[in-house]
C-alpha cells in the first residue's frame, strides 16, 4: 500500500535526475586529438602514441585479432572491452604532460603501449 506513492516519487526523482543530466551535458565537447591504434597478434600498433597536453584525446582502436581484448589504462582511468574484429572509440580527458601506460587486460604482460602527452 505504501509502495505505490513511494514508487511514483522515486520515478519522479529519477526523471528529475535524467532531466538535469541531459541539461548539463553539452552537445559540443572540445575538439579532440584523434589517434588511430590497432591491435594485432596481442600487440598494439603503434606501441607508443603521442598527444598534446591539455587537449582531450580520442583513440580509435581496431582489434584485428579474432579474440576479444580489453583496453585498460589505470592512469588514464579507461577500461573498454573490444570484441574480436571490432572497433572501439575511447575518450580520454585532457591530460597533463607525462607517460600514460595502457595494456590489454587479458594479456597484461605482452600487450602494452603508452600514450605520451607533451
Amino acid at each position: 500500500m505504501f509502495a505505490s506513492p513511494m514508487l511514483s516519487k522515486t520515478a519522479f526523482f529519477v526523471a528529475l535526475c535524467l532531466a538535469s543530466v541531459s541539461a548539463m551535458s553539452t552537445a559540443g565537447a572540445q575538439t579532440a586529438t584523434e589517434i588511430q591504434l590497432s591491435y594485432k597478434d596481442k600487440k598494439f600498433e603503434p606501441a607508443e602514441i603521442s598527444a598534446a597536453a591539455n587537449t582531450p584525446v580520442v583513440i580509435k582502436l581496431k582489434n584485428l585479432d579474432a579474440k576479444a581484448m580489453e583496453f585498460e589504462s589505470k592512469t588514464l582511468k579507461v577500461e573498454k572491452v573490444v570484441a574480436g574484429g571490432g572497433d572501439a572509440i575511447i575518450n580520454v580527458r585532457a591530460q597533463k604532460p607525462g607517460r600514460y601506460e595502457f595494456f590489454d587486460e587479458y594479456n597484461e604482460k605482452t600487450a602494452r603501449g603508452a600514450l605520451v602527452v607533451k
Binding site: M6, S25, A68, V81, A83, G84, N91, Y106
Partner: protein
C-alpha cells in the same frame, strides 16, 4: 593459469562483495535464498547474452554503447538500493522484531527482495560478461593451454565466491539490531559509489562534460587499482581522481537517501501500530 585465475578473480571480486552484503542484509527475510539465487542466475544468463553481443553493443550510440549500458545498469542498481534503504526505514523494525512471520511483512519483504535480487543480478551481469568474453576467447583459441586457463578461470570464480562468503560471515557476526544500522550505512555508501561510477561512464561517453575537473589525486596514497583500492571502490565508491561531478553525485545520493529515509521512516512511526496476529 595463474594469469587467468587473477583476471577472473578480479572481475568476480566486486560481485562477491555485493552478494555478501545483500545476503547479510536479508538474513531475517524468508525465501531470500530463492530471490538472491534467482538474481545470480539471471545475472549469469544475461552476462552470456551481453558477451555474445559485445561487439554490437559497443557500436550503439556512436561507439559509446558499452559506457551507456554500464551507466544505465548502475543507475538501476542505485535506484533499487536506495529504495531498499527507504523501505527498511519503514519496515526494518518489524522484520527485526517478532513479526517476521506476519503475512504483510512477508509480502512487503519480497518487494524489497526483488529490488535486492535486481542489484545482485546487475552486479553479476556487469562482472560476468567480461569473464564470459575472456574464457570464451581462451577456449576459442584452442591452444594446448586452453584447459589450464579455463581451470585457472574456475579457480578465480571459486575465490570470488569465497569473498562473498567471507563478507557474509563478517557481517552476520554483528548482532541483529546493529546489523541493520551497519548495512543501512553500507548500502547507502554502495549506492552513492555506484552512482559516481555511473557518472564516470557518462563522462567517458562524453555525455556529461560539466564539472569534469579532477578535484584531487590521491593515487600516491592509495591507488584505486590496488587490492584495497578496488575493495573500497566497490564498497564506498573510492576513486583516486574524482571529478567534481562525481563528488556532487555521490553526495547527492547520500543526501537523497537520508531525506527519504527520514520522511518515510518517521511517517511509519507516526502511524498507529497495526494489530498483531
Amino acid at each position: 593459469m595463474l594469469a587467468a585465475l587473477i583476471i577472473v578473480f578480479r572481475e568476480v571480486f566486486e560481485a562477491g562483495l555485493i552478494i555478501g552484503i545483500v545476503l547479510a542484509v536479508t538474513r531475517a527475510v524468508p525465501h531470500r535464498n530463492r530471490w538472491i539465487g534467482g538474481g545470480v542466475l539471471a545475472g549469469v544468463l544475461a552476462a552470456c547474452v551481453v558477451a555474445a553481443f559485445a561487439g554490437a553493443l559497443s557500436n550503439l550510440f556512436a561507439g559509446m554503447g558499452q559506457e551507456l549500458f554500464n551507466a544505465a545498469i548502475l543507475t538501476v542498481a542505485v535506484v533499487m538500493l536506495t529504495w531498499h534503504n527507504v523501505w527498511m526505514a519503514r519496515h526494518g523494525s518489524e522484520l527485526a522484531g517478532e513479526l517476521r512471520s506476519a503475512g504483510r511483512a512477508v509480502v512487503e519483504g519480497s518487494k524489497s527482495l526483488l529490488a535486492l535480487a535486481v542489484v545482485v543480478g546487475v552486479a553479476v551481469l556487469r562482472e560476468g560478461s567480461e569473464v564470459v568474453l575472456f574464457l570464451y576467447g581462451v577456449l576459442a583459441a584452442g591452444d594446448d593451454s586452453a584447459w589450464s586457463v579455463a581451470l585457472g578461470g574456475f579457480g578465480g570464480l571459486l575465490l570470488g565466491a569465497l569473498v562473498c562468503v567471507l563478507t557474509y560471515a563478517g557481517l552476520v557476526h554483528i548482532p541483529m539490531r546493529a546489523l541493520f544500522a551497519t548495512t543501512t550505512v553500507l548500502i547507502a555508501l554502495l549506492a552513492a559509489g555506484m552512482a559516481a561510477q555511473a557518472t564516470h561512464f557518462l563522462e567517458q561517453a562524453n555525455w556529461l562534460t560539466a564539472m569534469d575537473k579532477v578535484v584531487w589525486d590521491s593515487g600516491w596514497l592509495l591507488s584505486d587499482s590496488s587490492f584495497l583500492g578496488r575493495a573500497l571502490h566497490t564498497l564506498i565508491g573510492y576513486t583516486d581522481q574524482p571529478t567534481a561531478m562525481q563528488l556532487a553525485v555521490y553526495l547527492a545520493i547520500l543526501l537523497v537517501t537520508f531525506v527519504l529515509m527520514r520522511i518515510y521512516g518517521s511517517a511509519a512511526k507516526a502511524m498507529p501500530e497495526p494489530a498483531h496476529g
